[in-house]
Amino acid sequence: MIEALYIDPNRCIGCRACEQACSECPGHGGHAMIHLDFLARAESVQTAPTVCMHCADPACASVCPADAIKVDAEGVVLSAMPERCIGCGNCALACPFGVPKIHPHRELMTKCDLCYDRTAAGQRPMCATVCPSGAIFYGTRAEVEDLRQAQPLDRFVFGAETVRTRNHLMVPPPTDALAVAPVLRAPRARAERLLEECLC
């Protein structure tokens, strides 16, 4: 069974333990390969971690003019090879999830390689190990389906194009694919409506 990340933004508490832990990984030099966003802080405390989804047909790799982004036998899309990467930024522009980052001074793209050092040694990636709320889970699909009510999703529809990913987003059932489109305002949680009802 393939082990992968299962990301449930509903559980995310915005603590940034994932970023802080990722920055401690060997070779990351204090920089995180995962990032956390407050989606609309003026309205909501909803946050979400974003990390490489390890696409089945990665746009970053196909647009790379230097052929610096490789996919390993397990389907893990690796960080750019330093000796090849020219820091052009094509990958950052092409990624539908906004994951690759270019180091301007090093002319190098870096991104999550699913904690290759750790997973090769039988450990879970740092972010999933520390995540206090279980918003980032590492394991097999069967394990997460057994533990959770939310369902794993690995198909994202961007207009006419569907992207399949190795990592998953956890969403309320039933959903096969997520149509990614801009929204003016996210649907509100019940708690958010109850706050509006408060008597002052």
């Binding site: 509903n10 559980r11 995310c12 508490i13 915005g14 603590c15 940034r16 333990a17 970023e19 802080q20 832990a21 920055s23 401690e24 060997p26 990351h28 030099g29 204090g30 802080r41 003026a42 309205e43 909501s44 405390v45 909803q46 946050t47 879970r124 740092m126 190990t129 520390v130 995540c131 206090p132 709320s133 279980g134 533990l147 959770r148 009510q149 949680a189 019940r190 708690a191 958010e192 109850l194 706050l195 009802e197 408060c198 008597l199 002052c200």
Partner: protein, 722 residues
């Protein structure tokens, strides 16, 4: 003593806070560690297990410790970056004597001699109680025990108290009154097994992040979540029911919920009859709180209060959790008792997946309140005013019972007595009252009036800047010992490295002082294990019984829950099984609670409620976490959080500089305009000092029983800075 020895800027230049961003030598130089040490986080009461990496006798990083059962490798950002407090440029390395221009290093011999000489002189002139000790709840059990013994035996003063006064005392007092014991009633594993979690006044996502995992695992099984909080916290956002209570009205809300439970026929009459006393008085008291009558007071529509009661009654098993949000009040003890009334009346305690806990906040918030550094307490959770308890402890310490001082003043009262010049000398450890006590201007005035102040600290805290003498103590990772987590689980803290420079382990400093004060024989400890052995033996027979615990056992079993009287006793993860409580008659006590308004309610001049609390990236007064670069980067400074409707009325936009004014003081901050707080309330986190200190605004008003400050309600007005 007197004002600061030099300008604040000069002190910050010399002693920080500066920011440490990287391990020694930088990330690039970090290679495989020489050894790893399994220990626990130095911050909150969750006491997550973690592994420290040591290279060349320096702590260089952290690894998750996945075998420790409480957090299974999970950590919040504070835990991940705590290692950066080690090898820190601000670290105090030598004893420091105040001079006319700042602080200058002196030898340990001179420093210890000076402490003894000044204390003796003050006590000769002003009596033994003219010197006080302020201690802390981040100390290990060994050190907390030692501080109580040191104050009462070596100094002979009655005045020792600790910063748990700002944290756990309302819950502790209420638990003692209701149950006869002060400890979480259930292990956290029971949260996972419940059907309904009710969280009151606890921003668990930021203040006890690992608890969110327990709540979510319960929800994975189908459990429901009810959250009561004036702010829509991250855990509240996803709740099945969220009650945005107006700050300071918790007792009225809880009484209305219990009123409705009675109306719904939800009382467990059999449990009440067999295992409790006093319910009829509570039944009568809550009759005055129908939801319809209190909805405007508590700020929540009656229908939602009824829904909370319905959910409570319908759930077979419930876990009620609360924290400082309901405890930091002049009615803090009453608010907790009102929670306990609900739990007892429905018989929902003492069973798997069913019970009650306060979420202890400080690092050793549980253990440090058990073994005698509290003004009214002796080791083993004993009562300093109980003659039998006094005799037991006096005999163990080899002193006459008559020579054992009586009950002393609480920490805020000690500061007030210093202000009135009734207390002239102070020894502090692990406490930064200038940042953490309410009404910071008053605290500063008090510090300036001391005749002699000696601080044991590892960094020069804002409070220690006022000291005559600073003794460099030890960080958490530089000593062995035990702490007791929020669950009541006693666990092992393991030393990773030795203190740097001339810094010494805290207990060595305290024992050296005791020797020079003429009590060496009673402080002849050579290791924390010897202190633990004495503590453990002395606790035997007390309510808080560690009698069966050894370091070896704590390590082997990943902690043991007290009470654990004998070495073959398994420990007690869950209290009150079979409805057996710890009062002599085995019954729990109900207490009728009447709602009382906060000490300072809003009015025309100060029309907005200020409430204070924490953020995930900082801990308490920030003396450690404000020196850790990646944590400071998460939130560099405090903001004042306000609802867009309030902001619009005041002509304030997000990011504007605003002045927050209370009757005690004024601070200027950036506005953070968010629709996730009640429109009648603003929030400021309290981790910062000086001109950014929320506690320049808060009020010196205390619960009459527990003397916990009312940090959660003060009246302010807000003005846009032109």
């Amino acid at each position: 003593m007197a004002t600061l020895p030099c300008s604040t800027d000069a002190l910050i230049d010399a002693f920080g806070p500066h920011l440490n961003h990287e391990p020694p030598g930088g990330f690039a130089a970090r290679t495989a560690p020489d050894r790893t040490v399994n220990t626990h986080c130095c911050f909150c009461g969750q006491q997550c297990g973690m592994t420290l990496a040591v290279k060349d006798e320096r702590v260089v990083g952290v690894e998750p410790w996945e075998e420790f059962p409480f957090n299974r490798g999970k950590l919040c950002p504070k835990g991940i970056k705590r290692y950066l407090q080690n090898n820190h440029p601000d670290r105090l390395l030598r004893p420091l004597l105040r001079t006319g221009r700042g602080f200058a290093p002196i030898s340990w011999d001179e420093a210890l001699a000076l402490v003894v000489e000044r204390i003796r002189r003050l006590q000769a002139r002003h009596g033994r109680d003219g010197v006080a000790v302020l201690s802390g709840a981040s100390l290990t059990n060994e050190k907390a025990y030692l501080m109580g013994k040191f104050a009462r035996v070596a100094l002979g003063t009655r005045h020792i108290d600790y910063n748990g006064r700002l944290c756990m005392v309302a819950a502790g007092a209420a638990n003692l009154q209701a149950f006869g014991i002060d400890r979480a009633a259930n292990p956290w594993a029971d949260i996972v097994a419940t059907d309904l979690v009710m969280v009151l006044g606890s921003n668990v996502s930021e203040c006890s992040p690992i608890t969110t995992d327990y709540i979510w695992r319960a929800r994975d099984r189908g459990a429901r979540l009810v959250v009561v909080d004036p702010r829509l916290t991250p855990i509240a956002r996803t709740a099945d029911l969220y009650l945005p209570v107006r700050p300071g009205r918790d007792a009225a809300l809880l009484n209305a919920i219990l009123h409705t439970v009675i109306r719904l026929g939800g009382i467990d009459e059999d449990f009440v009859a067999r295992h409790t006393t006093g319910f009829e008085a509570v039944r009568a008291a809550v009759a005055d709180y129908p939801p319809e009558a209190v909805e405007r007071l508590v700020g929540i529509p009656a229908a939602r209060i009824v829904e909370a009661a319905e959910r409570w009654v319908q759930a077979p098993r419930t876990m009620l959790l609360h924290a400082r949000g309901i405890e930091h009040h002049t009615s803090g003890v009453g608010n907790v008792l009102a929670c306990i009334n609900l739990v007892l009346a429905t018989g929902k305690i003492g069973k798997p997946g069913c019970g009650y806990a306060t979420i202890t906040g400080q690092g050793n918030g549980q253990g440090a309140r058990e073994h005698g550094q509290r003004c009214n307490q002796l080791p083993g959770g004993r009562d300093i005013e109980n003659p039998a308890h006094r005799a037991h402890v006096a005999a163990a310490w080899g002193v006459a019972e008559a020579d054992l001082p009586g009950k002393g003043a609480t920490a805020p009262e000690i500061v007030e007595m210093i202000h009135r010049r009734e207390i002239r000398g102070l020894l502090s450890i692990c406490f930064n009252p200038l940042v953490s006590l309410p009404d910071a201007r008053f605290t500063q005035e008090a510090l300036e009036r001391l005749d002699f102040y000696v601080a044991i600290d590892f960094f020069l805290s804002e409070t220690a800047r006022h000291a005559d003498l600073v003794l460099p103590g030890s960080l958490h990772e530089e000593d062995d010992g035990t702490v007791t987590s929020a669950e009541g689980r006693v666990i092992r803290i393991r030393k990773a490295v030795d203190p740097p420079g001339e810094a010494r382990r805290d207990w060595e400093i305290v024992c050296a002082l005791a020797h020079r004060l003429g009590h060496g024989a009673r402080f002849d400890f050579r290791a924390p294990a010897e202190i633990f052995a004495e503590l453990r033996a002395l606790s035997r027979g007390g309510v808080v019984d560690y009698g069966g615990m050894t370091y070896e056992r704590l390590e082997r079993d990943m902690g043991v829950f007290w009470p654990c009287p004998t070495e073959d006793h398994p420990g007690t993860p869950r209290l009150f099984e079979g409805g057996r409580f710890h009062h002599a008659d085995g019954r729990a006590r109900f207490h009728p609670i009447a709602y009382r308004p906060p000490a300072e309610d809003v009015d025309e001049d100060y029309p907005v409620i200020l409430t204070t609390g924490r953020v995930v990236s900082q801990f308490l007064s920030g003396s450690q976490t404000r020196r850790i670069g990646p944590l400071v980067a998460q939130q560099p400074e405090p903001t004042v959080e306000m609802h867009p409707r309030l902001a619009a009325r005041l002509g304030i936009r997000d990011g504007d500089r605003v002045r927050v004014v209370s009757r005690r003081g004024t601070i200027e901050l950036a506005a953070h305009v968010v629709a996730t707080i009640r429109p009648d309330t603003v929030f400021i986190p309290y981790h910062w000092p000086g001109a950014q200190s929320a506690n320049r605004l808060t009020i010196r008003a205390y619960d009459p029983v527990a003397r916990i400050p009312e940090f959660k309600v003060a009246a302010v007005r807000i003005e846009r800075v032109a």
